[in-house]
């Protein structure tokens, strides 16, 4: 289990290295999918299946799909992947940076446990995070209403920004 956890954490960091080296957005979205998948694995290994499912459904299935088809706006004839020289230099720099900083910390990693010790590991249906999220409907009702209001406001912000016909923020179309 420690090995699986270390693979998930490695995939997380390497995926974000692949995103932040700024290749063409098609490839950066792929890197973000990998980061979200590995992050879900980390959350499941810590005993939070509901938050992991929320991440998969809402983040990958909702937000990243929107980013993926918005990548059509960044169309170029020769998209730069991770093999091009500029992107590759950034990737090597970021990888070396993470390695050098982790050098300061990694002696202690032999002593700690990488995975939590969890009683009733696979045998409960009611995990803590499911009950905790349900609190959003009872005591956290104010924040629920506030976030719903913020989402409604964002809808009108987006509609105003993309109004078109030289009204709003768009001039030509």
């Amino acid at each position: 289990m420690t090995y699986v956890m270390s693979l998930f954490l490695l995939g997380l960091v390497l995926g974000l290295v692949a995103v932040s080296s700024n290749p063409s957005p098609y490839f950066a979205a792929l890197g973000l999918v990998m980061v979200a998948g590995m992050g879900c694995g980390v959350l499941v290994s810590h005993g939070g299946p509901f938050l992991s499912l929320v991440l998969f459904l809402i983040y990958l299935g909702g937000m990243l799909v929107v980013f993926a088809y918005s990548a059509a706006l960044a169309a170029e004839p020769f998209p730069e992947g991770w093999g091009s020289r500029q992107v590759g230099v950034y990737m090597i720099l970021y990888g070396l940076g993470v390695g050098l900083v982790s050098n300061m910390f990694w002696e202690g990693w032999y002593e700690v446990s990488w995975v939590p010790a969890d009683e009733l590991d696979g045998f409960t249906m009611f995990r803590g995070d499911i009950g905790g999220v349900a609190m959003m409907y009872s005591l956290g009702g104010g924040m629920l209403v506030l976030s719903a209001w913020a989402l409604l406001l964002t809808l009108f912000v987006v509609l105003e920004l993309t109004r078109g016909l030289s009204r709003g923020s768009v001039r030509a179309v």
């Binding site: 932040s20 957005p25 810590h46 938050l51 995070d129 905790g132 956290g140």
Partner: protein, 98 residues
């Protein structure tokens, strides 16, 4: 720093440097911002799970909701820029010529 904390902290810092040293596309800067929000979601969820404070599980969900607001506003700006200039290249956003 435990390995899990180092992983999402370095993920956040990597996203921040990717956002700071952006190259050509506005969309790749927005994707680095999304990577930062993803690392923050993982950080808040791990706070909940490692410290057994399950009442805090609502916080990563609310973070996801507000991050969706921010992503949609950023994408609307991207669409507006692409409609005005034809592409989302950052070198075209040069009205402020100081």
């Amino acid at each position: 720093m435990t390995p899990v904390h180092f992983a999402f902290s370095s993920a956040f810092m990597l996203g921040l440097t990717g956002l700071a040293f952006h190259r050509t596309h506005l969309l790749s800067a927005l994707l680095c911002l999304e990577g930062m929000m993803l690392s923050l979601f993982i950080a808040l969820s791990l706070w909940t799970l490692q410290l057994d404070s399950t009442n805090f599980s609502g916080a990563p969900m609310l973070l996801l909701a507000f991050s969706a607001c921010e992503a949609s506003a950023g994408l609307a700006l991207l669409v507006a820029a692409a409609r005005t200039h034809g592409t989302d290249h950052l070198q075209n956003l040069n009205l402020l010529q100081c």
